[in-house]
Symmetry: C2
Subunit: 557 residues, 2 copies
């Protein structure tokens, strides 16, 4: 397999060897406690794996022998680390359970196929033996997409695709590349860049997520305005199903009926296992320019992004933080630093220009050849200026770029100190966006206030608009709040329900890029309609008649 799973944390984010770079900064914790209006933060360490007892694997010797016959003995694992690692994804809800030592969803074995025909073999075998199968890429789902739930079966195995990690082919004329689906972000980009190309798909999970995972949950990268969503860059896929292999073709466009690749995108492993994908790639951009702008408020920033989309300005990224997020990152960045004269001068300038605590930072990225990137950047700068923004220069942009995959690493040290942090996201058309923002923000604040462990404590709710379209944009909310230690799962459920109810009632989609998983299933019929759910069920029955694939995800049981 691409790399040893024990090098990644089984109950947290990222490399096991990653050094916690904020734990020792006491000033941060003092500041955070005061922001949350808590007298002090707590020590809430995770339980170590050694302390925990896993339920015995429910696979029979015959099951195990059968699987080994298909993929080889080395590729069927059931040691404690493998099972614990694959028990859940990496959502806040997952971490609460993993840290508490709840491994009830540990799979009965983890299987690492090396070829499409091995995947087909495992699926046929599992269907015959009534074993649940959980397709697994990097396992970074934050919506319960890889929970090794058994469903109606007595055993479940996780099919970890990370050993299928080859770049198969690059077609430089067409500008397409074909790779095995288990390839991780960095490996894929490295292989493509060696040939002068990039897919340009950089989600926050980039280091630990896979090509197949990106397609399976309909993901976006941070540069989606230029490089598109998975549905945009996917040309075709191979989907291994219990009924055989589906190949969706590799046409640039087609009117030969509904396009089957659109059913692979977002299928979250319930129809089959993505084993290969052909994707559109771009020549490596010769220029890349990320800069900051400061808007007077969220509304004027939103209006500027909308105008840029209407004018067809070719940005790579336009990421607008609301006032709360702007304030949070500014304050966080200043902790323990001496206030320089220049910084104080800048503050004074902002005051004179009447930028107050409603001010919002936007990071705008442009890539392409030198003249194109420069021209588009200037077009956006003019739009920003017309909407009252101040140009903050490249430093802000470059700082954002350097830290672009860092945020998830902050969660574990927060969880260690009694602080919860969760994210959720949605998208809506421009005319609904302001209302959706206000109502969801309010619902999150209220639910946190109702569930904080002590009177007077509060949470932090912040948001950014980070992916924009001709007709609308996404909103991404982050919440930081004191954990209700006697019931932090109930607390999470209360907050999640309040926010999701607000989203679906106000014109937002259940998810813009995280997916449905287990967590959004209670609302899926509201979004798709009963008839829509029936369609998805019908497709599943056609491909997976025994229902072994990813039990409990995407569709109501």
């Amino acid at each position: 397999m691409s790399f040893d799973r024990t090098k990644i944390r089984w109950n947290g984010w990222g490399w096991a060897a990653h050094k916690d770079d904020i734990g020792a900064h006491e000033a941060i914790w003092t500041w955070l406690a005061s922001e949350l209006v808590m007298p002090a933060l707590l020590a809430t360490p995770a339980r170590p794996l050694e302390e925990l007892t896993l339920h015995p694997s429910a696979l029979s010797d015959e099951d195990r022998k059968g699987l080994r016959g298909i993929v080889g003995a080395d590729s069927v694992r059931d040691d404690a680390y493998e099972r614990a690692f694959h028990a859940l994804g990496r959502s806040y809800y997952d971490l609460l359970r993993l840290r508490a030592g709840d491994l009830s969803t540990a799979p009965d074995a983890v299987v690492y196929p090396r070829a499409t025909k091995e995947v087909l073999g495992v699926l046929a075998f599992a269907a015959e033996r009534a074993i649940g199968v959980i397709p697994y890429g990097g396992g970074t789902s934050v919506v319960g997409g890889v929970t090794a739930a058994r469903g109606k079966f007595t055993a479940a195995i996780t099919l970890d695709m990370s050993a299928m990690d080859r770049l198969i082919d690059v077609d430089p004329v067409s500008g397409t590349a074909t790779a095995e689906a288990g390839i991780y972000g960095p490996a894929l980009e490295k292989a493509l860049q060696a040939k002068g190309f990039t897919l340009g798909h950089h989600p926050q999970s980039f280091e630990f997520s896979t090509l197949g995972g990106w397609i399976g949950h309909s993901g976006v990268g941070q540069g989606s305005n230029r490089y598109g969503r998975a549905e945009d860059w996917l040309v075709g896929a191979k989907l291994a199903t219990p009924r055989g292999l589906l190949s969706t073709g590799d046409f640039p466009a087609s009117a030969a009926g509904p396009q089957l690749k659109d059913l692979v995108v977002g299928s979250e492993g319930i129809f089959g296992v993505i084993t290969e994908a052909t994707v559109r790639v771009h020549a490596l951009p010769e220029a890349s320019d990320y800069r900051g702008y400061l808007f007077r408020d969220f509304a004027s920033g939103t209006a500027a992004v909308r105008k840029a989309m209407k004018d067809g300005i070719a940005a790579t990224m336009l990421r607008l933080s609301d006032a709360s997020e702007t304030h949070f990152y500014r304050a966080y960045g200043q902790i323990g630093k001496r206030r320089t004269f220049a910084a104080r001068l800048a503050d004074l300038y902002l005051k004179i220009r009447k930028f107050d605590n409603k001010a919002c930072v936007l990071i705008a990225g442009f890539e392409g050849n030198q003249s194109e990137a420069e021209a588009e950047r200037k077009r956006f700068a003019a739009v920003a200026r017309k909407h009252g923004a101040l140009a903050l220069g490249r430093n802000v942009g470059e700082r954002w770029r350097q830290g672009r995959f860092h945020a998830p690493y902050l969660r574990d040290p927060l969880l260690d100190r009694g602080v919860g942090v969760d994210t959720l996201e949605t998208a809506a058309s421009w005319s609904k966006l302001d209302g959706l923002y206000a109502v969801t923000y309010g619902a999150l604040e209220k639910a946190i206030l109702e569930t904080v462990p002590r009177d007077g404590a509060r949470g932090i709710v912040m948001c950014h608009l980070s992916h924009s379209y001709l007709d609308g944009a996404s909103l991404y909310f982050t919440t930081i709040f004191p954990r209700a230690l006697d019931g932090d799962i109930a607390q999470w459920k209360t907050i999640k329900k309040a926010a999701t109810d607000a989203i679906v009632a106000n014109g937002g989609t259940l998810s813009h890029h995280h997916g449905v998983g287990e967590d959004h299933v209670p609302w899926i019929a509201q979004e798709k309609g009963e008839l829509g759910v029936d369609i998805l069920r019908a497709i599943k029955s056609a491909l997976d008649p025994a229902g072994i694939l990813n039990p409990g995800k995407l569709l109501p049981q």
Copy 2:
């Protein structure tokens, strides 16, 4: 309904009152006969409707009463004109049959619903009474998409959507519009343009095709490089099915599972009837610039279009004719005209510059605000120059624009004179395009030579590349050939089979924008795979358990 069907030809193209503007130009016919190496053209008029006898309507009095109860007595028609008009679409194959008086596929009645609930009522009634239902927009299908086939039923009705033709709403902030699906192209654009917007979807059938039809067959307009395919501009749709109404939502993007709107696009009426759609619209472009370029050959023109796509040049249209099409339109345009001194000078210049009979014309269109259109045009001009092209100026572009919907009108006068004309199209990735072009071209030439009515006669095969993508482009072939009058349907079938076999064997899709209909069904399993066909069948069963919708289209029986 939006307009009286008797104003449109039942067995040909366009307005009944349209004056045939080439019939009287004897020079054209003399020239065409010589091009086809025929001693003379023939007189092969169509049979008038008055001469023909229609099979009696198979609907019972009870059926008719039931339908009238749902939509009103005025909205159930079964006079000869209505039935003949709706018997078939407008492909060459359809015209051969209509002109010969074959009305065996005339529907047993034509129903004009005025609201979604009427459509739902008709579908429920038809399912209960086992009556086939053919959803019908403008009826301009060229792949047998609206043939009123009865399938396994004893009766079939056509559901003509043209009475549902309202623009329901425009959301200027989001840049979206919602309209009833039966609205015709010109009415939709007129209503949108009155509010400062355009959908920008202009297929050649624009005057006689509808919003629902465009979505149902996954269409493209001539300006698709800017305005996108139906799948790109469709935000959401209402699909009336025998099992109720499916609403696909109206999000700018979503990761909440596979997107159901993608199943509506290209569904060709087999899953349900599109009754409403919300679409992305654009501000009316302030500038519009169409110009011609002359490339030395098809390969250098193709390379220039590919380069433009890779560089992200925002063209509205790049339409490259091959040498044959370039020659044909040039010769056609010069018939009966005096050769001016300027024209002869231009010919001399081309000769000096070594442009020979391999030269290919490209029309490049740019729209948007003045500076944007100008900037993109210049970027393309530079690419064209680098690929050896000569700029031909705006006249060529404007002439193309003026005639953009005219070509289908030429078919009837040709058919009147023993000349067949058909079109077919495909798309493939850039690296397959040259091979696909050569093999398909060769297959068409060969099949025509094998089926011409006399030794020595020949056909004309021409092609253009008209819609381009990052990873590939479409090819659109036109054939003109002497009809084998004793077997012109067999002739068409031979030519069609030869070309389609060549396309699917060489990496092309069955259709880039015409759809599948009845004509491409024999190849659909080759493109989608058996499992892919099963998926589409499963969706159909979920929405249309009785199988009443559009029998014989898209899926093998």
